[in-house]
């Protein structure tokens, strides 16, 4: 092997089954009856990869994908004065587990706050989508909307819950992306299988008991500095570095003669090859020069407002093309997340929606025109919705009882609405879904059994495995 000529491809499965699971496998080899995942789907596979778009802070479901005209009708009235007073039945509110006691936020807000935006129907399906998301609206026929989500954390720890399926007060468990990567491994020799872009706060790791090998690798869209240690921190010439990798490889090859059959050594040699390739592949993926102006416009790279997220989504598509399994994007800065509109909801949401709307539609259209949407599952999610009642004069509080998410591609049924909340958007009433139902559906589309993912002594989640949502599948 010669690092002077790069990149050199090599067998995938060796790396992924290899690298990722070496630790777990060697650690637990004495355990009988357990095998590390083969990396092959155990059920028919509809989707090969996931692009996970997470809006941090809590998107108002009533002002995005779940129109509630009653809010405008009863604006200013207290919920108790409306015909829907029963939504506040204490029994119905019990599911919430409070993390931050006596927080100023996460309270019941009873004065109904009218809708802050209008709705239009889109596509052949005629699904109503708020005026803040016209571009996503133009993709309505590709999207399956779930309007009946619920969760149990009334604070932003719900972000952890949406990624992992477990409440903040319980021990951290691996996130969905970690399980997917664990179950299926990588499809590339040059890039990590599981990538995160964008800020995280409440849980900065994914692998947990699966081990750090299953943590998402954090990438930045800056081609000059996309990944920690991806480029020499003290400058070294390219030929010198190639010579260095060459020497490392030669010495390790000689070492393999002294230690025949040493699997860790073999894995380490391959990891150097992957590392060397990554140094080129990661900046190459981040470099958008080769993309046409048309494509860049499609995502909104030509507009200051949409440019930052557009860049991430275009990179996401390039990562998807290059075989990355799980691409996790987080939108919205700050500890709580930018979407957290306790006040000034109209200004805040309309601005944030503008940042993501066109880039997301661009992604869906681009994936479709390249034939990638068929086996790429795009997920749009947030940790909870927002209260039908107003907080202060012009905000909405956290709302775990009902909210919306959507999926597109990867064998889902576009132009679908599934489930509903009540007239006020308070509770998920028809086909209510806990967050792990979304996980189970994603795993199902990827050909993984939500019940079969485990390592010795630990089963994925142990409970609340989630139920596949067949109604949104093609």
């Amino acid at each position: 092997m010669n690092f002077m000529h790069q990149p050199t491809p090599f067998l995938r499965r060796d790396i992924l089954g290899g690298l990722g699971s070496i630790a777990v496998a060697s650690m637990l080899k004495a355990e009988k009856g357990w095998q590390p995942p083969s990396g092959l789907p155990v059920m028919p596979q509809k989707a090969k990869r996931v692009i996970w778009l997470f809006m941090r802070g809590g998107v108002s479901h009533m002002e995005s994908f779940d129109p509630k005209p009653m809010l405008t009708k009863y604006a200013g009235k207290s919920i108790g004065e409306t015909p829907f007073a029963s939504v506040q039945d204490p029994e119905k509110l019990k599911k919430v587990r409070v993390v931050v006691v006596n927080d100023a936020n996460g309270k019941q807000r009873t004065t109904i706050y009218p809708l802050q935006t209008g709705y239009k129907r889109y596509g052949q399906c005629g699904i109503e989508i708020s005026d803040w998301f016209p571009h996503i609206g133009s993709c309505a026929d590709e999207i399956a909307f779930i309007r009946s989500m619920w969760t149990t954390d009334d604070n932003h720890g719900a972000q952890v819950q949406f990624h992992s399926g477990r409440h903040m007060l319980e021990p951290r468990v691996p996130t969905l992306g970690a399980w997917v990567t664990y179950g299926l491994g990588s499809m590339t020799d040059n890039l990590p299988a599981f990538i995160n872009m964008g800020p995280r706060y409440f849980d900065i790791r994914d692998g947990h008991y699966l081990g750090p090998a299953y943590d998402a690798v954090n990438l930045k869209v800056d081609p000059k500095n996309p990944l920690t240690f991806a480029a020499p921190e003290i400058a070294v010439g390219k030929p010198e570095q190639a010579a260095q990798f060459d020497l490392i490889h030669k010495l390790n090859t000689l070492n393999a003669e002294q230690y025949p059959g040493d699997k860790t050594l073999a894995a380490r040699m391959k990891s150097y090859q992957l590392a060397f390739n990554m140094q080129t592949a990661v900046p190459e993926t981040m470099n958008l020069d080769t993309e046409s102006d048309e494509t860049k416009k499609l995502y909104g790279l030509d507009d200051k407002v949409t440019e930052p997220f557009a860049r991430q989504l275009l990179v996401a598509r390039r990562l998807a093309e290059r075989g990355v399994r799980f691409i996790q994007l987080q939108h919205g800065d700050g500890a709580a997340g930018a979407w957290d509109s306790h006040s000034g909801l109209k200004k805040n949401h309309s601005m944030l929606a503008q940042q993501v709307d066109k880039p997301i539609s661009g992604l869906l259209k681009d994936l479709k025109q390249r034939g990638l949407l068929d086996d790429t599952l795009v997920v749009f999610a947030t940790e909870f919705g927002r209260t039908p009642g107003s907080q202060g004069s012009d905000g909405r509080d956290h709302h775990p009882y009902g909210f919306s998410v959507w999926m597109a591609g990867g064998g889902t049924k576009g132009g679908t609405i599934h489930g509903s909340t009540d007239e006020l958007g308070f509770h998920a009433v028809e086909h209510p879904h806990y967050v792990t139902d979304v996980h189970a559906t994603i795993l199902h589309q990827l050909g993984l059994d939500p019940h079969q993912l485990e390592i010795p002594g630990r089963k994925r989640l142990e409970r609340d495995f989630g139920h596949v949502i067949p109604e949104i599948l093609a």
């Binding site: 900065i204 081990g211 991806a230 003290i234 010495l251 002294q258 230690y259 040493d262 860790t264 990554m278």
Partner: protein
């Protein structure tokens, strides 16, 4: 109960028919049926439990049946019916206890039944769970581990590998015992004598260095979940501040080779065992670490779970919700154990030499809720307590070798009242003295500032010779020349109405004296913008000096302006901001002597300025600049010879009033500081004596005095800032507080506040801050002490075994019992149980000494063995490819901390300072301290340490040893790796190519290169253009560097 257990098996016609279509197959009961039943049914129908009085662990037992009779008879047999029914109430395993059997499994059962359910005649029923190997007290074989291994290898016809090269052994023990590689000198010395006595000396020497304690502390910090505090911003949610004291206790305990049994007891119950020993109290950081602000149950759950997994290899966490599925432990056992910890709480006690708890303090636990009952949580739901019966503290019966009888512990006074700790009085007094010194210094400073503050002009001793005195009631053309402007006289003076940016002046016709004193009284009535008036002097040939006042709304001030050659300069030193309003009458006094100018407004000295140039002769004028102004009077006199003028202050002087206020406040603060020691002494004396009325009175009086002094400070503060927001309210409140304090001094009573010498942890987020509680319960339940002694008892079959397994895994790369934290029935008797038990007994008989255990392991033959398969016996490799029989050593990868520490050590940069507060994690790539000293918690990311599998603070019974490309990137691209390579290159700089390669191998990998390696290296060195640093960095990337070969 999660599901109903029907008392009688009923036959129903609700069979799923799937299995009927599958033809009967020949099925092996032992291989296919029994394991299935074991996995899915035995938990409730086996040796552990016999629900419905039914066992499935032998065919005979199944025929005997339970409440519903023979489950194998009939068609379909009851066994089949119950696993295939769609009736959820009937189906086995019941809902929530596992999914339904799949069609393949059902088909096998059916086939087996169809064949007549054949089973071996002598089938043994499942063993009594209590007979599980790990629940039996270990017995020594009396043989060495090497002898036992040799016998096993020989009986299996396995051939062990030969010894590894001595330098590899040396690198192993260095990295294993101190976490740092040997130097080339240490290698050279050892290679001169590699005999056993020499090896013993090396091991003894390593175990004697403080680095041993650091190295092994990191292992135990993994197992015991060391974690610095974290939360959200400043809110502490997890662990406790200054928990590093516990880390230092671990390091020190290991270095002094404290018995492991003692370490356990101290960590769980030092507050009951040695309540007065501050060093030992640090051990309870183990319990304080699991503190969780939001939920006490979470805290106690984690405490129970990890105490049991770490010390006992017992998985109690399963029992929180239901009886154990594998081990003879029931749900109530969980809550009996919870009762041990139910009274537990955390607090910060003072640390000698520091009174600020943000800076230092001793995090520790104590029993607070002595009488709090413990109830079982139905299905683990904390909101659903079974209040019918509180549970007493206890341990699982299966392990109760002696009855569990906690004895309540009477606590010494200083435990109850940390203020009585001997150093508290001293520290508090020292802090108070420091405050006095600081207050004294502040007062001195304030007084100096006041002294420098401009003083009201001293009245001249002789009356100045008055030259001009004009009240402007009438025009005096012989005295004044109008230079522009519209000047109109009236009874109140002369008024000039014109505005706009232009000078309009009254020039004094007589020449003024060189040193003069002038006084101008005026009122500014308006202006477009600048609204300035001034006294101009030395005016000649277009040059002049003017002292003016501007009522400019953008910043009113008094200013010296220098006009020279048509250009105006406004020196900063000649400028003082001062509120000047329209329609307010002011008097500007100007005194000039030589180059020195003094100016006051309304007798308030403001400006002292020295002209940069020599004076020149010129005229004097009164000027308006963009000002509608009225001059009321003007006086001019010769400056008295003895008049005192101020020099310009070198530092910015403070206005007199402010300086006076600052002195007044500093005086009060000084008085308050001085009142404090008396209070501290009186309060301490009263606390110490307890119940002494006279002392209590004295304490109350001293406290009242101090509080009065404080109230005075507050009052002065409030009054000094009359323009603050809500100033009136604040002043009023301060005055009331002051009056109240005054009354208290008059009648102080007998109650007083103890010294603030302890900080109780918040009992929940509803407590707005850590409460300063000064008196704690005077007894402790003794439950934790009894529990700890039960764990650390020689008769406890688990504790020492679990520890020996932990240490073994770290020396030999693979554990004897695969599940480090579960020695329950899911862990079958290990292949090398004889070795485990022999070492365990030997360990306990030697005072639970870890150093003894290390010696036994690292001086063994096994530890010397090569880790290579090369030239191994082919049959051995084939028969035992995974090395289950230890016919060779296992190579291991360095933990992340060892990688970083070794890099720094090789570079000669590692700072070996021991202990102390946790260090900023951001500095971990630049600081040369050892890696265990950086802040570690779930919120902290260490870029470098993370890629090599840093410890998971939530649980880490065994480090991951992943191999990922980020490790390669970290070692090739990080500044850390390159800096170390550079430092090494500097050390090895003078050697020629060949010697350089050899020495590089020896330094980085602890061994010499083979011929092939030397050739490849020399070629590589050339390819790298003989860049020594890059070559050394390549060696740092050699697999052998991160590997313990």
């Amino acid at each position: 109960m999660p599901h109903p257990v029907p008392r009688v098996f009923l036959r129903r016609g609700t069979l799923a028919l799937v299995w009927l279509a599958i033809p009967a197959l020949a099925v092996d009961y032992e291989k296919e049926i029994k394991p299935l039943l074991k996995e899915r049914c035995y938990a409730c129908h086996g040796a552990l439990k016999q629900k419905a009085d039914l066992r499935l662990d032998t065919a005979a037992a199944m025929r005997k049946g339970g409440d519903g009779g023979d489950i194998l008879a009939g068609d379909p047999a009851l066994l089949l019916e119950r696993v295939t029914t769609t009736d959820k109430d009937e189906r086995m395993p019941p809902e929530g206890e596992g999914s339904m059997l799949n069609t393949e499994q059902v088909a096998k059962l059916k086939a087996w039944l169809a064949a007549g359910a054949p089973a071996p005649a002598n089938e043994q029923s499942e063993a009594d769970p209590r007979a599980h190997w790990a629940y039996q007290v270990p017995k020594s074989s009396g043989q060495s581990m090497d002898a036992l291994l040799a016998a096993r290898l020989s009986s299996k016809k396995l051939k062990p590998q030969p010894e590894a090269a001595p330098e590899l052994w040396l690198r192993r023990v260095y990295l294993d015992l101190i976490g740092l590689p040997p130097s080339t000198e240490q290698i050279a010395v050892f290679l001169k004598d590699t005999s056993m006595p020499s090896r013993q000396r090396v091991v003894d020497q390593l175990l004697g260095t403080p680095q041993y304690g650091e190295r092994w502390a990191r292992h135990f910090m993994d197992i015991w979940r060391y974690c610095d505090w974290y939360g959200l911003g400043a809110q502490l949610r997890h662990s406790q501040k200054h928990i590093w004291h516990w880390r230092d206790w671990i390091v020190e305990s290991l270095n002094t080779d404290k018995g492991y049994d003692q370490m356990i007891v101290q960590m769980l119950a030092a507050d009951e065992l040695a309540p007065e020993d501050r060093d030992i109290l640090r051990a309870t950081g183990f319990l304080a670490r699991s503190y969780y602000l939001f939920n006490r149950t979470t805290w106690l759950d984690e405490t129970i779970e990890h105490t049991c997994r770490a010390f006992l290899g017992l998985t109690m966490q399963c029992v929180k919700c239901h009886d154990h599925k594998y081990d003879p432990i029931e749900q109530a056992d969980y809550y009996r154990m919870r009762a041990i910890f139910e009274p537990l709480h955390g607090r910060l006690d003072p640390w000698k030499g520091e009174t600020d708890f943000e800076k230092n303090g001793l995090p520790r636990v104590f029993d607070l809720h002595l009488d709090k009952p413990t109830f079982r949580h139905v299905r683990g739901d904390e909101k659903n307590e079974d209040k019918s019966k509180p549970l007493n503290a206890g341990v699982p019966q299966v392990l109760e070798f002696a009855s569990f009888q906690p004895a309540s512990v009477k606590l010494p006074p200083a435990s109850v009242k940390p203020a009585l700790l001997p150093f508290v009085l001293e520290d508090q007094l020292r802090a108070a003295e420091r405050d006095i010194t600081a207050a004294q210094k502040a007062l001195d400073q304030a007084r100096q500032t006041l002294a420098k503050s401009p003083q009201p002009a001293a009245k001249p001793v002789t009356t100045p010779k008055m030259l001009i005195s004009d009240d402007f009631t009438s025009a005096k053309p012989q005295q004044w020349e109008i230079l522009k402007g519209d000047w109109k006289h009236s009874a109140t003076g002369v008024r000039q109405h014109q505005t706009g940016a232009e000078r309009r002046s009254l020039r004094l016709k007589p020449a003024p004296p060189a040193d003069f004193e002038a006084s101008l009284s005026f009122t500014i009535r308006g202006g477009q913008k600048w609204k300035s008036i001034g006294i101009m002097f030395d005016a000649a040939d277009g040059d002049d000096v003017m002292v003016y006042m501007s009522a400019f709304s953008g910043g009113s001030k008094i200013q010296v302006a220098l006009v020279s050659a048509g250009k105006s300069a406004y020196p900063a030193a000649g400028s003082v901001a001062r509120p000047i309003s329209q329609d307010v009458r002011y008097t500007l006094d100007l005194r000039v002597r030589g180059q020195l100018i003094n100016a006051s407004i309304n007798d308030e000295p403001l400006l002292a300025y020295r002209l940069p140039q020599q004076r020149r002769e010129g005229s004097l004028a009164l000027t308006a600049f963009d000002a509608d102004v009225e001059f009321h009077s003007f006086k001019l006199a010769e400056l008295a010879a003895n008049a005192v003028l101020r020099e310009p202050a070198t530092d910015k002087s403070v206005p007199l009033a402010d300086a006076k206020a600052a002195v007044a406040l500093a005086e009060k603060q000084f008085a308050a500081a001085k009142a404090k020691p008396a209070m501290i002494r009186a309060v301490f004396a009263a606390d110490k004596a307890r119940q002494d009325k006279a002392l209590a009175k004295a304490a109350a009086a001293a406290e009242a005095n101090y509080k009065l002094a404080q109230a005075e400070v507050d009052l002065v503060k409030a009054e000094a800032d009359p323009k603050a927001k809500d100033a009136d309210k604040k002043i009023k409140a301060a005055r009331e507080a002051f009056e109240k304090a005054n009354k208290k001094v008059a009648a102080p009573g007998e109650t007083y506040t103890s010294l603030p010498a302890s900080l109780k942890a918040q009992e929940g987020p509803e407590e707005s801050t850590n409460t300063t509680v000064q008196t704690y319960p005077d007894t402790s339940t003794g439950r934790r002490l009894a529990f700890a002694r039960w764990i650390a008892d020689k008769r406890n079959p688990l504790t020492a075994r679990v520890l020996v397994n932990q240490v073994w895994m770290r020396h030999f790369g693979a554990p004897l019992v695969a599940n480090m934290d579960d020695f329950g029935r899911r862990s079958l008797a290990p292949l090398h149980q004889d070795i485990l038990d022999t070492l365990t007994v030997d360990f306990m008989n030697n005072g639970w000494s870890l150093k003894h255990l290390h010696r036994a392991m690292v001086l063994s033959k096994l530890y010397r063995r090569s880790s290579s398969n090369a030239e191994a016996d082919a049959d051995t490799v084939a028969a035992d490819p995974d090395n289950a029989n230890y016919w060779r050593m296992n190579p291991r990868r360095m933990e992340s901390q060892v990688v970083r520490d070794s890099l720094l050590h090789l570079a000669g940069k590692l700072d070996l300072t021991l202990g102390g507060p946790s260090l900023d994690p951001a500095s971990s790539e630049t600081s040369p301290r050892r890696s265990l000293y950086f802040v570690q918690n779930a919120d902290t990311e260490h870029r470098f340490l993370a890629v090599f599998d840093n410890s998971n603070v939530l649980e880490c019974y065994r480090r991951n040893e992943s191999v990922v490309p980020q490790q390669a990137l970290a070692l090739t691209n990080s500044k850390l790796s390159r800096d170390c390579a550079d430092a090494l290159a500097a050390k090895l700089g003078k050697l020629d190519g060949e010697a350089f390669v050899t020495q590089s191998f020896l330094t980085v990998l602890g061994r010499s290169p083979s011929d092939a390696e030397r050739r490849a290296s020399l070629e590589g060195f050339q390819a790298l253009k003989q860049n020594r640093s890059l070559f050394l960095q390549a060696l740092l990337n050699h697999n052998d560097f991160v590997t313990l070969r």
